[in-house]
């Protein structure tokens, strides 16, 4: 019985990688990101928008600081411990442990006007540009 239990998932999931990806499992697995968490960043006329791909976090485990124009995102991501005594981790690709990323923001931002929201595993940080850096519409008088 025990030996059946141990053997079964291995044959189950090895099979899947070959069938669906057509190349060895080691290649098909997502490569560990060189930098965790992945970040996308962009600018609008009025702000700098940073999107941090950080699923499954507790808010108290995320540390966010801005010093001068350096935005620093750090924290710790805990792994889920198997519940039962008989549980075995068969595959472990998700990031676990401490992380830190530092982003250089453009010079024209105003760190005082920063908002951060965590939603659906995305940390969205919005930093306003200084008012003098924002485009202004100039009315032409007759």
């Amino acid at each position: 019985m025990i030996s059946n239990m141990i053997r079964f998932p291995s044959s189950l999931f090895d099979e899947l990688d070959e069938v669906f990806f057509g190349f060895p499992a080691s290649v098909a697995r997502p490569r560990r990101e060189r930098a965790y968490p992945p970040i996308n960043m962009g600018v609008t006329d009025n702000s700098v928008e940073v999107y941090v791909f950080l699923p499954g976090m507790k808010l108290e485990d995320i540390d966010l600081t801005i010093e001068k124009n350096l935005l620093s995102i750090s924290g710790k991501r805990e792994g889920e411990k198997p519940e039962g005594e008989d549980a075995t981790i068969y595959r472990e690709e998700r990031f676990k442990g401490s992380f830190k990323r530092v982003i250089t923001l453009p010079d024209d931002v105003d760190p005082e006007k920063t908002e951060a929201v965590y939603r659906n595993g995305i940390l969205h940080i919005s930093i306003a540009k200084r008012s003098e850096a924002q485009p202004r519409k100039i009315t032409v008088k007759a």
């Binding site: 044959s11 990101e33 990031f95 982003i103």
Partner: protein, 130 residues
Amino acid sequence: MTEQNVQNTRQQTPQQPEAMPLELTPAVDIIEDKSGVTLLVDLPGVERDGLDIDVDKNVLTIRGNINLHTDEKLNATYMDVHAGTFTRQFTLGSELDAGAIDATLKDGVLKLFVPRSDVHKPKKIEVKAG
């Protein structure tokens, strides 16, 4: 069919970051115990509406669309994530009960529990007094 699709999309290069044409392979943890198999899938930015879990015969397909709620006027300056969709497929063994999958999505992590079919669960056999 599936195999070809996966390879084709991987060879494409993103011409317009806004269009985000590529597919991502989400990171997965797989834990198994006596009662069944638990999959934890990282799907940051995926909402319930954008998540599709499908079992066809014994093939489990997970597909999720990333929604960043971005401003249309946003110009990308840096991107680690060039795609807008997560996709991954698994074959379920006959020992598992595909009809009884339990799925929860919280903070961009999908937790899927696939129980073992009753037939394959270790059973305690009661001995009745004769």
